[in-house]
Amino acid sequence: MRIHSTNDEHDDAFRQALARSGALDPREPTTDLVAGTLRRLPHTSPRVAARRAAIRQALRRATTIAAVALLVIPAAIGALNLMRGVETPIGAFASTSGPSHMRAVILATIGQRLEMSPVRALVGALVWLVQIMAVVLILGFWPRRSAVAGMTLLAMPFRAFGTGLLAIGLLIASVAALLTLLTATLVGLPIAAIVFILAHVPVALGIAVSARALGFRLAHHSHPTYDLDYHLMILAAALLALPAAMVTFISIPAALPVLYILAIPGIGALIHSQGGLQPVSTA
C-alpha cells in the first residue's frame, strides 16, 4: 500500500490508496439487520411512537429523581441525627429492651432454629435452587451481554478477579456507610432494606457471568458463541451453586461470603467488558 501525501489536495490519492489496500471494501453484517429491526419496531406510527418515547423518558427521569431523593433525604437526615447524637431507632430499641435481651431474642427467633440440621439442609437446598434459577434467568434475559462478559472473563481471569475484588470492596464499604446513615432514621429503615437487597444484584450478575464462563470452559469452545446452550448453562449454574449450598451445612451466614467470592471474577469481567457491551480479547 502506498500513500502519496497527507496534503489536503491529495484527497483522491489518499482515497485510492485506501481502496487499493481493500480497506474501503464494505463490510457485511452477520445478521439480517432489517428483519431484526422490524421485530423491534413499535406497532404504532412514528408520531405515536415518538410521543410514547417522550412520555417514557419523562417517567424515567421522574423515577430517577424520586429514587435519588428517597435515598439522599433520609441519608442526610440520618447523618444529621448521628452528628447531633440523636438516638437512632435501632439504638432506641436496644436501650428499651437492653442489648443482651435483644441479642437473646434474635438468637431465640432465628439463630437457634438455624442450628437444626434439617433447617440447614433445607436452607442449603434453597440457596442452591435460588442460585440456579437466578443464573438461568439472567442468562436468558441477557444471552449476548453475558456471553461477552464470559468471554472477557476467560480472556483475562486474573485482571477480572482483581477488578472484581476492588469493586466488591467498594460496594460493601459504600453500602455499609449508606446503611449506617439510613438506619439512623425511622423513615430510612425500609429504604435500607431495599438498598441491602439491591446491593446483591451485582453479586447475582457476577455469579451469572462466572457460570457463563464455566459453561464455555465445559463446552471446550475455542471461540465461544453467543448461542445459549441451556443444558450446559444449567449444569454450569448447578456446579457453581454447590459451594455456597454446601457451606450452609457448616454455617448459614458463611454462605454469603462464598457467594461474594464466586461473584468477584464475574463482576470484574462485567466492568472490563462495560456491562457486556465491549468484548475484550486475549490479543
Binding site: D8, S21, R27, E28, G36, R40, R144, S281
Partner: protein, 190 residues
C-alpha cells in the same frame, strides 16, 4: 429523480405506520449505516446492535424529518450522533480489535496474498480506531461513506473549513499510524 420521489413515497407511507415501506428504506441504507457504525465503533457485533438502534431512532423521529433534506444524510447524522454518544459512554479507552484479530482471510487470492491484504485492512481499521472520534467521523464519512464536503456539512453540522481541517489532520494521523505499522512504504511529505 424517480428514485428520489419513490423514496419520498416510502417515507410518507412509513410516517403513516407502514412497516413494509420502512423495511424498504432500511434495505437501501442498511449497508451504509452498518459500515458507518462499524468504522466508528470498531466492532461488528456492536455495530449490528448500533445499526438497529439507529433505525429505531430514525423511525421514532421520522415525523420530524424535513423532506427538503436528503434522507441518506439525515439518517447518517442520526447514526453518527448515536455512535458518538456510544463512544462517550465508554468509560475506558480500550481498543476492541477482536474482529480484526480473529477474522480469517479468504483463500480466493491465494493464502499469502490474502493474508497480506487482510493485514493491511486490519492495520487501516486499527489506525482508524486510534483517531479521536471528531477526526474519525469526518474520515469515515468522506472515505467510507463517500460523501461530499457539503453532505458532511449536513450530517455533522460543521462548517466546511472545520471539516477540511479535521480531514487533513485525520489523513495525516492515519498515514503516520500506517507508516508506523509498516503498511506505508514511502516517506510522507510534511
Amino acid at each position: 429523480m424517480v428514485e428520489q420521489s419513490d423514496e419520498h413515497a416510502l417515507i410518507k407511507r412509513s410516517i403513516n405506520g407502514d412497516h413494509d415501506a420502512f423495511a424498504q428504506l432500511m434495505e437501501r441504507y442498511a449497508g451504509s449505516v452498518f459500515n458507518l457504525a462499524y468504522r466508528m465503533l470498531g466492532n461488528a457485533q456492536e455495530a449490528e446492535d448500533a445499526s438497529q438502534e439507529i433505525f429505531l431512532r430514525a423511525y421514532t423521529n421520522l415525523a420530524r424529518f424535513d423532506q427538503a433534506r436528503r434522507f441518506s444524510t439525515w439518517l447518517l447524522s442520526i447514526g453518527l450522533n448515536y455512535c458518538i454518544d456510544r463512544l462517550r459512554r465508554r468509560r475506558f479507552a480500550w481498543l476492541t480489535l477482536d474482529d480484526v484479530v480473529l477474522s480469517v482471510p479468504t483463500l480466493a487470492k491465494g493464502p499469502e496474498r490474502s493474508a497480506i491484504e487482510q493485514e493491511e485492512r486490519d492495520a487501516v481499521q486499527r489506525a482508524l480506531l486510534r483517531l479521536p472520534p471528531t477526526y474519525r467521523e469526518v474520515a469515515v464519512l468522506r472515505y467510507w461513506n463517500d460523501l461530499s464536503y457539503e453532505e458532511i456539512m449536513q450530517v455533522t453540522g460543521l462548517p466546511e473549513s472545520t471539516i477540511k481541517t479535521r480531514l487533513h489532520r485525520a489523513r495525516r494521523m492515519l498515514a503516520e499510524a500506517l507508516r508506523a505499522e509498516g503498511v506505508v512504504h514511502e516517506e510522507i511529505p510534511s
